[in-house]
């Protein structure tokens, strides 16, 4: 789970025009008025605001940079955001989701937020088994059916389908003059997974509100009840109908701590630095991921139970401690806003990652465009390996999940945003994502060399949102 302060922009952001949300007040006319109007009748005038801004700049010796106002979210004032999101990997996973955010201001800086998300995942994901020179047959997670991957193709688990419903509720309120607390609950449920969590954040302004210190913590308890049961770690995949190595559900606890500082660095610039510690304990294994067991010389699959080749279910350590450091620099350039961020993450699984990201919000009058670039690179977990070798001693932990391998990805995107009257806003975002990895050295044996063992993944992301 993510702490609100760790990856999202700080709440101290220069308020763009999109934040404006006044409402017109047009009560009906009073008494009818007979206009005994002489000549020189009314004629509506056109746009004078630009010329007026120039005249004002000469009067005052420099122009303002526009107003940013909103109406107090008083009692009974509700704000809504709705967004539809689509993530489509070519021939792999498709995720379609909808979010609905309701905010209700309660005056005096208090706010209640409710976020409802529904998303549906379909398609296939790489199971971890290596591509082979011959067709491979796998038992589905339920143990009730089997499927076959043609020769030379990356084995995908094609039975992937899940719907998740998530709910998050937060209550924000000021404490004294300089502090604010935010407490929340989160709950999500899908076919095989139940998440429950609590989170809290305390922030305090210092130094005439030029610095803000944030402390946050979150605890989540997640239960996984895999299709067919959780397999014993490193036990073989069994033929259809045999569930003797699978048993029930398991759970994990994830605790996150965050300490962050936001600092005003001059009139137009804000910097932010966060450190996050995330400790996970419990069942961290992916119950659907496999490792192929192959011959060390030929790369041919080793024979397994029944008619099957030998595949073992993966095993991960039952704890993980992640440290991450996040820095953000944001600067207003007139009406435009540019930001640049970097995140370093390291954990005791020996994964190290770097994320570099930048956005530029370009105001173009009645709309804005926001290009987005992101680069991500990570090293492999110490127990990551592409396959296991027949006849050799089993390691304690092993996973061939590509998400734990050495990989790079980049994202390029563009958001179009159009503020509308009455504080409404419409946005459309399009992004392209490409991920490529380094094939693990274990797979550079025999016939396995003939295949792309770490195919790149590319995805298209589309999102549209409306706020009112």
């Amino acid at each position: 789970m993510q702490l609100s302060g760790s990856s999202t922009p700080p709440r101290h952001q220069p308020q763009p025009h999109g934040q404006l949300r006044p409402r017109h007040e047009l009560p009906p006319h009073g008494q009818p008025q007979a206009p005994p109007r002489p000549a020189g009748a009314e004629r509506p005038q056109g746009r004078i605001a630009v010329a007026l801004a120039a005249a004002t700049a000469s009067l005052l010796g420099g122009g303002g940079s526009g107003a940013a106002v909103a109406e107090e979210p008083a009692d009974g004032n509700w704000d809504f955001d709705v967004a539809l999101h689509s993530y489509r990997e070519a021939d792999r996973v498709n995720d379609a989701s909808g979010t609905f955010l309701v905010r209700r201001g309660a005056g005096g800086g208090r706010e209640f937020r409710l976020l409802f998300t529904i998303d549906t995942l379909t398609g296939a994901s790489a199971s971890g088994a290596a591509a082979s020179g011959r067709a491979q047959t796998f038992t589905s997670p339920s143990g009730k059916a089997s499927y076959t991957t043609p020769a030379g193709e990356t084995p995908l688990d094609p039975t992937f389908l899940d719907t998740r419903i998530a709910l998050a509720a937060n209550l924000v309120r000021p404490v004294g003059r300089f502090s604010q607390i935010d407490v929340g609950l989160s709950l999500s449920n899908e076919w095989d997974y139940l998440h429950t969590g609590v989170n809290g954040r305390l922030s305090r302004d210092f130094n005439e509100r030029r610095s803000t210190l944030t402390l946050a913590a979150a605890v989540a308890r997640d239960t996984i009840d895999p299709e067919g049961g959780a397999p014993l770690p490193l036990s073989p995949m069994l033929p259809v109908g045999d569930l003797s190595n699978k048993a029930g559900s398991d759970d994990k606890t994830v605790t996150d701590f965050l300490i962050g500082v936001t600092q005003v660095l001059g009139r137009n610039t804000i910097g932010q630095l966060n450190y996050t510690l995330s400790i996970a304990d419990g069942y961290l294994t992916d119950p659907y991921k496999l490792l192929s067991v192959v011959d060390r010389r030929t790369g041919e699959p080793a024979p397994g139970p029944g008619e099957l080749d030998l595949y073992l279910f993966e095993a991960r350590p039952d704890s993980r401690a992640k440290h991450s450091l996040f820095g953000l620099w944001r600067r207003a350039l007139g009406r435009d806003v540019v930001d640049l961020s970097y995140r370093y993450m390291t954990d005791d699984w020996e994964i190290e990652s770097h994320t570099l990201e930048t956005r530029y919000r370009w105001e173009l009058g009645s709309f804005y465009l926001q290009p987005h670039l992101r680069y991500y690179t990570q090293s492999a977990a110490e127990f990551y390996q592409g396959a296991l070798f027949a006849g050799e001693e089993l390691p304690r932990f092993a996973s061939a999940d590509y998400r734990l391998g050495e990989l790079d990805s980049y994202t390029v995107g563009l958001t179009y945003g159009r503020p509308l009257p009455h504080g409404r806003q419409w946005t459309v975002r399009l992004e392209y994502y490409e991920q490529s990895g380094t094939s693990p050295p274990e797979l550079a044996v025999g016939s396995l060399r003939d295949f792309d063992q770490f195919p790149s993944v590319d995805a298209l992301i589309a999102e549209t949102g409306f706020r009112w």
Binding site: R11, H12, P14, Q15, Q19, L20, P22, R23, H24, E25, L26, P27, H29, G30, Q31, Q33, A34, P35, P36, R37, P38, G40, E42, R43, P44, Q45, G46, R47, I48, A49, A51, L52, A53, A55, T56, S58, L59, L60, G63, G64, S65, G66, A67, A68, V69, A70, E71, E72, G176, F178, D205, E208, R209, R210, T212, T262, V264, R267, I270, P421
Partner: protein, 306 residues
């Protein structure tokens, strides 16, 4: 009027300075920590307000406005600040197609907006109009000459200008954010570094009317979150003339000599500066029934009460 400014701690935690200037209750909201800092800022802001009041009030003798209005047809040389204000008034006159005119005050002599009374006669209005109109003035950027009997009045610009000027001085004096509010026309000296808004109340004439039955002087306010820039309101519900059952609002159109018909009760505008907000609000009032379409064309945030 006593020229005394007082400061106190507001409930929300910021410092609140108050004083009286330009026939308005003036406030300064300051995000500073210590009272002496608040006192210093309040001194700067109130000092500027009083300086501009002394300099541009048409009710005071001996200032530049008095000199111009009593020039008896001779050109009067003005200082640089007055010249900038006059240049601005010229621009406004042009942008408003003559409806905004700092010489229109003379019309106020024939129109009294104090309740039920007969309309002025056409000749009376025509006579007043002969002393109204910027096109009758001679302005070369340094010297201004009015026809004898003509007068200028910075009433339509002066308060907003004072708000922006005082806020500029506050911005030079402190990195902290301040709100300078002279009788409801206000601007931020700079955004709060944390990005949080200031909560400011604007008079809500529509709500005022709904609350008419309640305490007479209870003013309904609408709370606005202001992150940057300023707000200004034009129009009041209080001053009007009732003749033959027709209500005439107090906004006069110098191109006709008549009150603007169907003007909104009030218009509030948000803009980058108080001056811009105030001028757009004023010009919107001068549009009468077309105020809504005029405001929509400006692309600014606004609130209209009819």
């Amino acid at each position: 009027v006593s020229r005394r400014a007082t400061v106190r701690r507001a409930e929300e935690g910021h410092w609140l300075g108050t004083f009286q200037a330009m026939a308005s209750r003036c406030e300064v909201l300051m995000d500073v920590r210590h009272q002496r800092e608040a006192d210093r800022l309040l001194g700067i802001v109130s000092g500027e307000a009083w300086r501009l009041e002394d300099k541009f009030s048409r009710y005071l003798r001996g200032n530049v406005v008095d000199a111009i209005n009593h020039g008896n047809g001779s050109p009067v040389e003005v200082d640089e600040e007055t010249a900038r204000l006059l240049d601005f008034a010229v621009q406004l006159h042009r942008l408003s197609e003559g409806r905004f005119d700092i010489t229109s005050g003379v019309l106020g002599r024939v129109w009294a907006f104090d309740g039920e009374r007969p309309l002025p006669g056409a000749e009376e209005i025509a006579a007043a109009l002969r002393l109204v109109g910027w096109h009758r003035a001679q302005w070369d950027g340094r010297r201004l000459r009015l026809e004898p009997g003509m007068q200028i009045d910075f009433g339509g610009i002066g308060k907003e200008y004072a708000v922006d000027r005082a806020a500029q001085l506050a911005a030079e004096a402190t990195e902290s954010s301040c709100v300078v509010n002279f009788g409801g026309d206000l601007v931020l000296s700079r955004p709060r570094p944390t990005g949080e808004p200031w909560r400011v109340g604007i008079e809500d004439a529509a709500a005022d009317r709904r609350a008419e039955d309640e305490t007479a002087d209870r003013r309904a306010t609408r709370l606005i979150l202001l992150y940057a820039g300023g707000l200004a309101t034009s129009g009041t519900t209080k001053r009007f003339l009732l003749a033959d059952g027709v209500r005439y609002g107090h906004i006069l159109d110098p191109t006709t000599g008549w009150p603007v018909q169907n003007a909104p009760r009030s218009v509030t505008v948000a803009a980058g500066s108080c001056v811009e907000a105030g001028m757009i609000a004023t010009l919107a009032m001068l549009q009468g029934a077309a105020a809504e379409s005029f405001l929509a064309a400006q692309g600014v945030r606004h609130w209209i009460a009819r």
